[in-house]
């Protein structure tokens, strides 16, 4: 016990020590071979200097293509922008700072369904805090959620009330970050969702809520369909609210007369995004993840170029606007995490596992099977701006719907306080 306490004192913040009761099994070797091992082992990130040096070396040896033949980003990330970013990555960027951000938080590993799952777990000092599990997506990671932890666990410090407090659990999806990489197929959304329920129960939470955007949205909607006992509700910022009538318009059908101007704009923007190849990366990873992964695993610039094509980065200033979150270091923390954990390939398989379905389609996500409470926040720069009428059709038990005035695909990374305020409001009635 002594040993573990020491580890925790160094790394855990505040009341997270209260967790010690649940981690007594962690004293033994952390690589127990037993499949029944339910221990929760403290985890600390430490990447070797050699791996960091190797990354730098590869960055500096980048072999660049010629410049795009257009003056905008319509062919993908522009050469000069990427060169500048990658040059910074190979010279001034410091992974150790990113690593320190993670290690300032209590992190653990526990084995679920045969896989080691990594997660951050921060408990609020407020005794009635609501347990919340937050799931990232691609090309994201637990780094997206770091800025959200303070406002959620310690609301009084960020303009909230003690009654708004959450205990926060932030896992890495299998194949992402420090979670283990599946070696066989079958880790679809429902399996991840079931693993999350096991995790929350293993942490001693009988009742909890779940949040997700991007693939995280798919995971929490799968959890909502399964509706394990104790899951009180979900919040999503990328809801499967493309109903059949919306889907028909995307497929080329005329706009239904009852669609308002605002709804028309939302569906037109999404249609343009799709027609302009906004999801081609998704199609490729869904079809041939292994083919994509070779270049991304072997080339840091290849990895960065591929991830920056995601619509979530469309308005990112590449660090030119120092006030913008995520900062250049935030984004590079995230890319470097993918690089150092060698998860470019394993993470892209989530697209293959869930191929031939759309995260935003109500039919594909079987939202008609969801009976538990659902809360939605719509951010204006998200690729798909869900409209309330569609959301009410898709989710019969919609307890909260709000459109905010700023933020995009990585809303919690961009506006953590706004995002925290949304989660407080969303789950208020479920406390």
């Amino acid at each position: 016990m002594k040993k573990i306490k020491t580890i925790l004192i160094i790394t855990l913040v505040g009341a997270a020590l209260a967790l010690q009761g649940t981690i007594t099994n962690a004293q033994g070797p952390s690589h127990s071979s037993s499949k029944m091992d339910e221990s929760i082992r403290p985890f600390h990130v430490h990447i070797s200097d050699a791996a960091i040096m190797d990354l730098r070396k590869r960055i500096m040896a980048t072999r660049w293509p010629d410049k795009e033949t257009v003056v905008d980003q319509s062919q993908g990330v522009q050469l000069e922008k990427l060169k500048e970013l990658v040059t910074y990555w190979g010279s001034r960027y410091d992974w150790r700072k990113g690593e320190a951000k993670l290690n300032s938080l209590p992190q653990f590993i526990t084995t679920i369904d045969g896989l080691d799952i990594h997660f951050i777990h921060v408990k609020s000092k407020h005794p009635k805090a609501m347990p919340l599990i937050i799931t990232h997506g691609w090309p994201g990671s637990v780094f997206e959620q770091i800025k959200l932890i303070g406002p959620l666990t310690d609301p009084t410090k960020y303009g909230g009330n003690p009654e708004d407090a959450f205990d926060v659990v932030i896992p890495s999806i299998p194949g992402f970050g420090f979670s283990a990489k599946p070696t066989e197929a079958g880790w679809g959304l429902e399996r991840i969702g079931r693993a999350w329920d096991v995790l929350m129960k293993r942490l001693g939470y009988k009742n909890y809520v779940a949040q997700g955007g991007d693939w995280g949205a798919g995971v929490v909607e799968a959890m909502a369909r399964i509706a394990p006992s104790g899951l009180l509700g979900i919040h999503t910022n990328l809801p499967a609210a493309v109903t059949n009538d919306v889907g028909a318009v995307l497929g080329g059908a005329p706009m239904p007369p009852e669609f308002s101007e605002k709804e028309r704009a939302a569906v037109n923007d999404l249609r343009n995004f799709l027609h302009n190849g906004g999801l081609s990366y998704l199609v490729m990873m869904g079809a041939r993840p292994q083919a994509v992964s070779y270049g991304l695993t072997d080339s840091p610039s290849g990895l960065a170029g591929w991830m920056l094509v995601h619509g979530g980065f469309d308005k990112w200033s590449f660090g030119k606007d120092p006030k913008q979150s995520p900062t250049i270091d935030d984004v590079l923390d995230n890319f470097t995490l993918y690089w150092l954990t060698n998860t470019a390939g394993s993470s892209s398989r989530i697209y293959w596992e869930n191929r031939n379905m759309s995260l935003i389609s109500a039919v594909d996500q079987k939202t008609n099977q969801i009976n538990i409470p659902v809360a939605i926040t719509v951010f204006p720069d998200e690729v798909f701006r869900a409209q309330e009428r569609w959301a009410r059709k898709a989710f019969k038990n919609l307890i909260y719907f709000n459109e905010v005035d700023r933020g995009g695909h990585f809303a919690m990374w961009e506006y953590p306080q706004l995002f925290a305020a949304e989660l407080r409001a969303a789950f208020k009635t479920l406390r």
Partner: protein, 427 residues
Amino acid sequence: MKKTENILASSVDTDALVSPDTIIDAQSGSLVDLKSSEPIRPFKVKFDDAELIDLRQRILATRWPKRETVNDATQGVQLTTIQKLAKYWANDYDWRKVEAKLNSYPNFVTKIDGLDIHFIHVRSKHANALPIIITHGWPGSVIEQLKIVEPLTDPTAHGGIIEEAFHVVIPSLPGFGFSEQPSEGGWEPNRIARAWITLMKRLGYNRYVAQGGDWGDAVTELMGVMAPSELQAIHTNLPATVPDEILGALWTHQPAPATLSPDEKKAWDQIDFFFKKGLAYAQQMGSRPQTLYGIEDSPIGLAAWILDHDARSYELIARTFDDKKEGLSKDDILDNITLYWLTKTAISSARLYWENKVVFFKQLGVKIPVAVSAFPDEIYQAPKSWAEKAYPKLIHYNRLEVGGHFAAWEQHRLFTKEMRAAFRSIR
């Protein structure tokens, strides 16, 4: 004169090479087309040792992903296969062999529409040979055609007769191989087709035929649509024959019409598979080619991307690295990939998909004579019924027993026979 002769003398009859409208510029030693001020400059392939060493070092330093989570190719190129390729590429492969092979033919560069276009030009010793321009596709190059140059230009040494001889012109597409990389947009297949017409004119050919598969088909069929008076006929091994109503039904995932003949049904199934499972790379390159930084920086990234072209080609290529000696050799495959690497054309070639507005497999309306060879392992084997509808002047149609997407490369004897038969009626 001397200088040019030296360059050319090794492999061609110099007199035959110079067309009636072409003279040799005494000062530069270049060929000059009298009708155009643009010279035709001799070209040799030569890469520094340093570049070959850098390539080898990068292959050896490859950082690998984990193995795929399945036991087949459904997630893309399998780790074991690509690792075998890497091992051979770094340890046994010798670029200098194919470089010498390329240089054993007369190579030229000439500026067309503002861009330097590279081409191999081999004239037959037979005076009445039929000039032909052959266009490769993606992920191909002029290397695909190297095995058919001699059989086509020198038929009597390769089981043919004098009357089957061709003068062969094999250009590199803009942004591919040794052709210049366009620095601005606009080089779509129509523009390339116009450039090829200019090229043949500049070479002094006023009666010729054209051949292509893949992008080469698009360029060749568009030349057919433009129908300059010199162009007598075209041959294609990936013809665009699919009727509009069939394409529409495939796009909207309708069931196969009950009226399809067995050959049509096979084609339907092949295209359906390609659209559903095989088109992702094309969509990626068509929408965001510049995002593929990884294949410009990583030789293995490039090799995997190229190998993954279509499921059947991948099978045919993968078996080579499993030491099944059929079709393409390891060297064939790596010659082509190394060409992309050394010329740094991974992304510039991908941009053709972004530029393109031609709908894959959709009939283009070619009215001049068309010859079709339908290979069984092509992305789809065009049925005769569709070819007849697509081409009112179908002068040749043959359904072959073997051969896939890279037919000229993989089944060069069959391909040569096809070319001879295809254009017999045109001579």
